[in-house]
């Protein structure tokens, strides 16, 4: 009896070891080949944007340390984020990654962007932990990042990544068809404002891509860099048809529509000033939920077309990918007035 028990135990151990010896090799966004041992149990996401992908792919419970874009302290976290992630206080990190902290958490995979990579990859690889560089900048990049993570985070993650890719294809395809139906000259001209009344997005930014995907034209497309400061005079020169305000920051629709100075702007006279909704991730950043950003923008730019049922799609999206049920208020925010 004892010998049989020992034999079974040895077999089980051997099988376990064999399973543990499984690895997946992927190529990250910089072309590095990274070998990741399976399964990945303890993820440290030092890339504030990448963290949301981990949640969307259903691996959020495997995070041990996470940076969240736009949330530098627990006090800054929106209530919805807290509801989605009850462990927020223990998970939340900010500033430069502390290698000892990550090691203490027993991390077996680190996600980083190009800025953090240099600091973190070297020491972590000395400890035998791989670092994956991410940095989506386009819609294709969003899909590729999801698929990349899906490949290393297990079957369920893979399935979700595939589903997300299919969603992107559907939404972008539908929007593109509708956009090409409008000649270039009559597409709505859009001004995308950031965190102040004088801060506008440049042509190189993701926001401009979203506008174009939704069938609009960004008035500030020829500006370079990131956020630019312009004065009211320039806004008048551009004469946008629609003004969209970023989902973060203090600028409200009222601060524009009720400002005497802005009354001369066409978009304000036509009452087409909108603020992007936000649940936790921001839809104008290269996150999975930027998909909803395109849907919402098409509704804002082409209110008569009703291409998408944004509200229902939002509820379904957050439930499917984040396991989060939108409240009525949050869902209504996706309706364009």
């Amino acid at each position: 009896m004892k010998e049989t028990a020992w034999l079974v135990a040895t077999l089980v151990v051997a099988l376990a070891l064999a399973a543990a010896a499984q690895t997946v090799t992927v190529t990250d966004t910089t072309g590095h080949a990274v070998t990741v041992e399976q399964p990945v149990e303890r993820i440290a996401s030092a890339y504030g944007i990448g963290t949301y992908y981990v949640y969307a792919l259903g691996a959020g419970d495997r995070l041990v340390a996470a940076w969240f874009v736009g949330v530098k302290s627990a006090a800054q976290a929106p209530a919805s984020l807290r509801a989605m992630e009850p462990r927020l206080d223990t998970l939340l990190r900010a500033g430069d990654p502390n290698v000892e902290d990550l090691a203490a958490q027993g991390t077996d995979l680190v996600l980083a962007d190009a800025a953090q990579y240099a600091a973190v990859a070297g020491p972590m690889s000395d400890l035998g932990v791989p670092t994956l560089i991410l940095g989506p900048e386009t819609a294709q990049g969003v899909v590729d990042t999801a698929l990349l993570l899906g490949a290393i985070l297990g079957e369920e993650a893979q399935a979700r990544a595939d589903a997300l890719a299919a969603e992107f294809t559907r939404v972008y395809g539908k929007a593109a068809v509708a956009a090409t139906a409008t000649p270039a000259g009559s597409r709505p001209r859009v001004l995308f404002l950031g965190t102040s009344l004088s801060s506008v997005a440049s042509g190189a930014m993701y926001q401009t891509q979203l506008i174009e995907a939704a069938g609009g034209v960004s008035v500030s497309a020829d500006l370079v860099g990131s956020w630019n400061t312009v004065n009211l005079e320039q806004v008048l020169v551009w004469s946008p048809d629609v003004i969209v305000i970023a989902p973060y920051g203090n600028v409200t629709v009222e601060s524009i529509t009720e400002s005497a100075d802005w009354q001369s702007v066409r978009a304000v006279r036509a009452r087409r000033v909108f603020k992007m909704p936000r649940v936790f991730g921001t839809m104008d950043t290269p996150l999975p939920e930027s998909l909803l950003g395109v849907e919402w923008l098409t509704a804002a730019l082409y209110p008569d077309r009703a291409l998408f049922d944004v509200r229902s799609d939002a509820i379904a999206f957050y439930q499917a990918y984040y396991g989060y049920a939108l409240s009525t208020e949050e869902a209504d925010a996706f309706l364009v007035p």
Binding site: G194, T195, S196, L223, N228, N231, L232, E233, D261
Partner: protein
């Protein structure tokens, strides 16, 4: 210089900023040129948007440029005399660093434009208070004030570094960086009142006592032998000059080189006598900043930060001045 020539020069200098400010109202990216702009203001029924733009946006901004330029230049001029050092800038007493920290702290914690202005001004006053309190105990000599000013500057610079470190790179840090580069695009009639009130008072006081400021350029013993209460006068000048700088920084962010270069140009034209130097610095400073601000808001679609323009123009101007200075004196002293 004969009195007649001096009078002509004074009139020219004092009308320069007024003329330039007037012209600036009709220059901008919007509209079909200067003629149309002129038309819109002075004839009825013309382009309403343009008129609103000129009266509500360009006019307060141009006024702000006039005052900020005058403030920084006069503050620089009187501080140069007070410290008996032609290399002094209006930033020397830590006022600017305090204001910068206050403004960026407000950007970090709130984001309300009013809070930024108030906070900038409050911390600027705090900086001055510290400099005067500690400097007084050290005898309130120019050297004492200078050293404490350097220390206070460094302290607030460090605090500013901390603010930048904790700021959210998405929403706060760009705003902070942009504010630090200086600009007048936020100037509206509503927020102009403190600037005008403080500038008017401060410039007025310095204008009235401008002859006595000449006595401050003598060393302490000489000035005392002329019966002037040096410490009291010096402290008053420091307070007024600091107020001018504080309100300017609160309005326009960090603008350097104006306080250093403009007084030198003014000195080259009207001499070192503060009776002529103070008004000339004010006029020249206002004129230059109006021109630079007009460039800042017109040359490119995006706003060019004023601090960049003053630096790009100020540094070569300073070098040229220095070369001229040295040549006129026949070599460095």
């Amino acid at each position: 210089m004969t009195p007649a020539r001096r009078r002509a020069l004074s009139i020219a200098l004092l009308s320069l900023p007024v003329a330039l400010a007037f012209a600036a109202l009709f220059v901008g990216r919007y509209g079909n040129g200067v003629g149309a702009a002129f038309h819109s203001v002075f004839s009825a029924g013309a382009d309403e948007t343009l008129r609103a733009l000129i009266l509500r946006v360009r006019l307060p901004r141009t006024l702000a440029a006039l005052f900020v330029g005058a403030n920084l230049s006069v503050a620089g001029a009187v501080l140069q005399g007070l410290f008996r050092n032609p290399l002094v800038d209006s930033r020397i007493l830590g006022v600017s660093s305090g204001a910068a920290f206050g403004a960026c702290l407000a950007i970090l914690l709130t984001g309300s434009a009013l809070a930024v202005q108030v906070s900038a001004f409050a911390f600027a006053l705090l900086a001055v208070a510290v400099v005067l309190a500690v400097g007084w105990r050290l005898g309130a000599t120019p050297l004492a004030l200078l050293l404490v000013g350097i220390a206070v500057s460094a302290f607030f610079d460090a605090l500013l570094g901390l603010v930048k470190y904790v700021a959210d790179p998405l929403s706060k840090l760009p705003a902070i960086t942009y504010w630090l580069l200086g600009g007048l695009h936020a100037s509206r009639w509503s927020n102009l009142v403190p600037l005008v009130a403080i500038s008017g008072t401060g410039l007025g006081i310095l204008f009235l006592i401008r002859w006595r400021l000449n006595v401050l350029t003598l060393n302490d013993e000489e000035a005392a032998s002329l019966g002037v209460r040096v410490r009291a006068l010096r402290i008053s000048v420091v307070v007024v000059a600091s107020l001018l700088v504080a309100t300017s920084v609160a309005q326009a962010g960090m603008i350097g080189w104006i306080g250093l270069v403009i007084p030198h140009v003014a000195r080259a034209w009207v001499g070192s006598d503060h009776v002529h130097l103070v008004p000339a610095s004010a006029a020249l400073g206002g004129a230059v900043l109006v021109v630079l601000d007009t460039i800042a808001r017109t040359a490119l679609p995006g706003e060019i930060p004023l601090g960049i323009l003053t630096g790009l123009l100020g540094v070569p101007a300073f070098v040229l001045l220095l070369v001229g200075y040295v040549r006129a004196r026949g070599g460095t002293r």
